[in-house]
Amino acid sequence: MASKSRWADDDPETEAILAQRKREKEEKRRAKAEKQHQLEEAQKQKDAAANADSEAPPKKRRRLSNDQQDDESATEPQSKERQDKPAARKLLRFPVHEWGPCRHVDNFERLNHIEEGSYGWVSRAKDITTSEIVALKKLKMDNSPDGFPVTGLREIQTLLEARHSNIVYLREIVMGKTMDEYSGINHALQRDEDLPCPCPTTNRVFLVMDFLEHDLKSLLDDMREPFLPSEIKTLLAQLLSGLDFLHSQWIMHRDLKTSNLLMNNRGEIKIADFGMARYYGDPPPKLTQLVVTLWYRSPELLLGAEKYGTEIDMWSIGCIFGELLTKEPLLQGKNEVDQVSKIFALTGPPTSQTWPNFRSLPNAKSLRLPQTPSAPSGNPPLLPRAKFPFLTNNGLHLLSSLLALNPSSRPNTQECLAHPYFREDPRPKPKEMFPTFPSKAGMEKRRRRETPEAPKRGQEAPKLDFASVFGGNPSSEGGETGAGFTLRLG
């Protein structure tokens, strides 16, 4: 039978056996539920008979603790301190979390499709029992030989941990198949040797998250005018505060971009899509270089740095800041090489003063810098003022430091939040005063503009040849004037 199971699908006999097994399984389960019910009944009767106040033994443990405190402070005067300042004896109680099995996705009624991202598929849905509107995100199961995709596991783990007002709230995980089906499969498995798909039990996993009306990308696309300076300040401060929390919990997001920032009609912005997020440590673990969507990817990643840190998120923040100011993505490279040239065109090329070690990065070896580097003053140098005409000096300073080529020159989230930019006029606009916008996600299909996607996991990091960044490629046709040097696009 074991040798036959490879063809089990088209063998009616085996199918019958499987069906039989499944039936048995179901019966067993029903019997189990029944038995548990009986047990519960018996327990209830026992409880009722035994004593009136037997409520809950596990709560008892916690309750007793409090009781004891009360009792002791009431009856035992031995501890003077306790009587003197009972408030000081208040012990911190951790929030008590519980766990339970995943619910079925049928508890939600799907309303409309929102978007297809690189890491899954999102739709608006209604919780049937509570009528709350939520966003359902289907995890991509890539049938990997390693089982449940680690990116999905990390996304769930980091989101569950990252409870912050500026991070999208993950309510629960639901699944697409019932308990019976999978326990049946498991049983069958111990007898039959192989079944075709490595994980049919979890091919439908959904994250249930709070629904937000907008993502920042489509909002910017649809707006006639960019946000006001005071609004940008509020948005940026919220973004930084969410990211500050993530970094304080040792989580790197690794895919910050405007389409991953959600916004509601109450002026609140929340970081979403943790498909690339992961814990890091000190010393840092081995990390993949294939992170962050190209337009938001930092120069050290593009130059192939094997070690990187939270600075890559700060670079993305800089890109987002620029995008909020101009309404257009700041650095829209066509490929890695083009991205690097666009970056250098904006910031000026790296020098040994601004970025001492960049020459040792793997992809920097092929990088040929122009002979006469225009050496802008300051470290990091200020970005060209002409590009951001309506930004204050403080704002330009913050933006320039976020977009510093040298990762160690970039400020961390704390330093950003303390930046004078947030305290000068115009002050950040109160969230309540934010304008509202018609929600595309709420009612209709999103218009999708072509933006590059986050790199796919499992790819090899490309060995890039940056020889052509500064016009080394003779076949290139178009040219563009950059910051003090000529740039040709391949």
Binding site: K35, Q36, E98, M175, S183, L189
Partner: protein, 299 residues
Amino acid sequence: MANPSGLKYLSNALATLDQLSNSSSSIDGVSPDLETSIRFAGTQLTQAAGVLLRLSQDIISQAVVTFTRFWIGAEGGSLRIYSVKDVSAAALYMTAKLSFQPTSPRSVLNVYAFLLSQDASPLWFINPKGSPETPPAPETYCLTEGGYQSGRLVLLRTESIILRTLGFNTHVALPHTITLTYLQTLGVSSSAVARRSFEYLNAALLSPQLLYVTHQPNALAVAAIYLAAREEGVKLVDDEWWEVFDVDREELGFLVVGMRSMEGFARAEREKWQGRTIPMVVDQVDGEIERRRMMEEGE
């Protein structure tokens, strides 16, 4: 006021009353003492496999906690449906995958093939004869290619089942690091106390009282320090120092008793099963239950 959600990092999900009073296995007719024995053996198996896989103790500890959580409650896993050895392997594999030291299905399955070998295993509850004098034949503990292929499917499927059963709650906060912080706060510089505390904490992972799913890490840390300091004769401050770490006397007392009973419990288990193996797969559990039933009827 600091964001209270930051505390998630230091705290764990705990089992509820319902989960502690009903287990899926007991509903399926596994007696509580048999369940305790099997779970105890399973935690040891996980620990041993983690050591052979050269995973660091924090990963192993997290895997043991995940393994323990899986069996708890009426909606948890039943020993008559899932094999302990599979859940142990999948918990370890999944925890390592999320950690900084991922490991491959093949390594995991190789290690489990060795540990579950009735001839070669160093574990008393699998190979009661103890290590043989002459090395056993390799085929008694080596994984065949076919065994690997089928084992991998079971491993990955069990991983999904664990995730579903726990609602993807893979977060496990451990008491070890805060134990060191507390020791520093208490001004204890003795490394013997630190070592002994860790020994208590690691032993408590195997506790039949399920200490890691009923108590928060700070309480476990305080109890381990209390015991270690007493044993090593290191005097701590006179006052009720545990309250500084948000543990009350009652909880401390319970944990101290629980941790100290570990040694006796382990001894008793070994005596109880003297010369016999503890069931590691569903069929063996069924067999053991049948055997006990026959014994009862015979008497």
